[in-house]
Symmetry: C2
Subunit: 304 residues, 2 copies
């Protein structure tokens, strides 16, 4: 049940109406692999960092028994840096700074010990790098899940459409699914996107929950009405980590399991936003997660 998580490991600065944080560890693969580590001890990271990445960040990853053989460290270079600001409506954010730094020439290495990979999560990254990772894994994983964003739809659509053809599950948000399909109705957008390659589409709607589409079925995970949302950074990545982590744990890719994976992903995303940075993903217990999943279930359950 080995699981590769590729994406960014970064330094982030962010500000929300509830506080701010400066140059703290972040990135899609950091949040995602931390979240996934609660479901399997076979999480293998593929990413690149610079010499400025703090030791505490590396320790956080290692404390969760995440394999970092595929994590490249370039001592002379700077880590990928992102800075953003959230307004009261946490579904939207302004990106203030994106410094690619070490990411500009990222050439992903898949160590030999990673070749047993059964589940592959392609975090949000250049489509060309996502393709390279798929090509460098000798035996096709049982399930490839891919995250992306509107930025690549604007700038690298051709390469993006090529990766989308190669994966099993695409996870994007509602606006991105509208942009990718040219359809406003999410039902229509999903129908169209499911002709582009993936068997399943996950549409993330932030506080409004998430939708899972196959060609025949739809499932909706509600958004948990949280009293406090401090920092949505990494929520989508934590969702992805919980989603693929749960699938790896269950060793099953049926729609029935994917539905439960969406709930577990939503639970991990909901923990993530309750604190600044990846703090709230560090010391969860299995009981915390089970209790949160139960909250999600009780939200939509009633006697028929």
């Amino acid at each position: 049940m080995s699981l590769i998580f590729i994406g960014t490991v970064a330094l982030d600065s962010m500000e929300s109406p509830y506080g701010k944080a400066d140059m703290i560890p972040g990135g899609s693969a950091l949040y995602g692999s931390l979240a996934a580590s609660y479901f399997t001890d076979q999480v293998k990271l593929v990413a690149v960092i610079g010499g400025d990445f703090p030791k505490s960040g590396l320790e956080m990853i290692q404390d969760h028994h995440i394999n970092i053989e595929g994590l490249q460290i370039k001592p002379q270079e700077k880590s990928f840096y992102w800075s953003g600001k959230y307004h009261e409506n946490m579904n939207n954010r302004d990106t203030l700074i994106t410094d690619l730094n070490v990411l500009a020439n990222f050439d992903p290495i898949i160590p030999e010990s990673y070749q047993d990979c059964e589940y592959l999560m392609l975090g949000n990254l250049t489509p060309q790098i996502q393709i390279k990772v798929i090509e460098r894994i000798h035996k096709r994983p049982k399930l490839i899940v891919m995250d992306t964003m509107n930025y690549w739809m604007d700038s690298e659509l051709e390469a993006l459409l090529k990766v989308i053809q190669m994966v099993d599950v695409l996870t994007i948000n509602d606006e991105e699914s509208r942009q990718l399909s040219g359809e406003y109705s999410l039902a229509k957008a999903a129908k169209k996107i499911l002709t582009m390659g993936p068997k399943y589409l996950v549409i993330k709607k932030g506080e409004h929950g998430a939708l899972l589409f196959s060609k025949e079925e739809v499932f909706i995970a509600p958004g948990l009405p949280l009293e406090e949302v401090y920092d949505p950074t990494g929520a989508g990545d934590s969702f992805a980590g919980g989603f693929i982590g749960y699938i790896a744990k269950m060793q099953d890719t049926s729609f029935a399991t994917l539905k439960k994976a969406i709930i577990h992903g939503s639970a991990m995303g909901s923990f993530c936003v309750e604190n600044f940075g990846p703090d709230s993903l560090q010391n969860l217990s299995q009981e915390d997660i089970a209790a949160r999943v139960k909250e999600f279930i009780s939200l939509t359950t009633f006697a028929v």
Copy 2:
């Protein structure tokens, strides 16, 4: 299980990217009483219309066995007129014209035969009129549900807060719940609004579904991902009609029944938007409704 529905019976003109309609029957009490009529044959209308209201509109109401003893007709006056335009994002609309006409001096009459009312739905109207209706029903109904909108929060807050104190359930949308409470988080907004009088709060989120809050519990009804939304006019009123209609049918006001009422309300709202005006509420069968409710249930159901 007699149910009074008070609100507007109007003439509407609307335009959406999918078409337009001119001067067709509408209004909160028209949509709401039609929707409620599928659950009980004891729907009693309180409203006022002018001499210009078409015979076909009155027939539509009577075909659904809705009692119109409380419907005042002022032959010399014009019906309430509303005109609006929807953009691709159907959650928002521009109101182009609001002519109060006959509504300006509306003095609601509660006929003697309505005094057995057990369930009262106060559709969106001037708070002063909503108060009058409550005062004119001699015996307090088992459940009073009230709809309102941001317009009254801006212009009649004091009277509005007075009605809110008198009712059991308040139904508003997410923006309105933020405005009324001054809280951005819907969980916090709900907590605050539930100190203002009502036992239950329903927050309607359009395509994102609806939330039901009591002081102790939360329930979420998903939004059905529809391929085509032609005209959202009346969706909230149809929701209210299905909601209170189902409660009247079950003769029970427990949270467990309210959860199912939210699903039935959502089903009626989803039918409403599939056509221009109230057309899609005219010829539904009990099987149509049961099938739609089942769709809602299957959307969020999974084996634990």
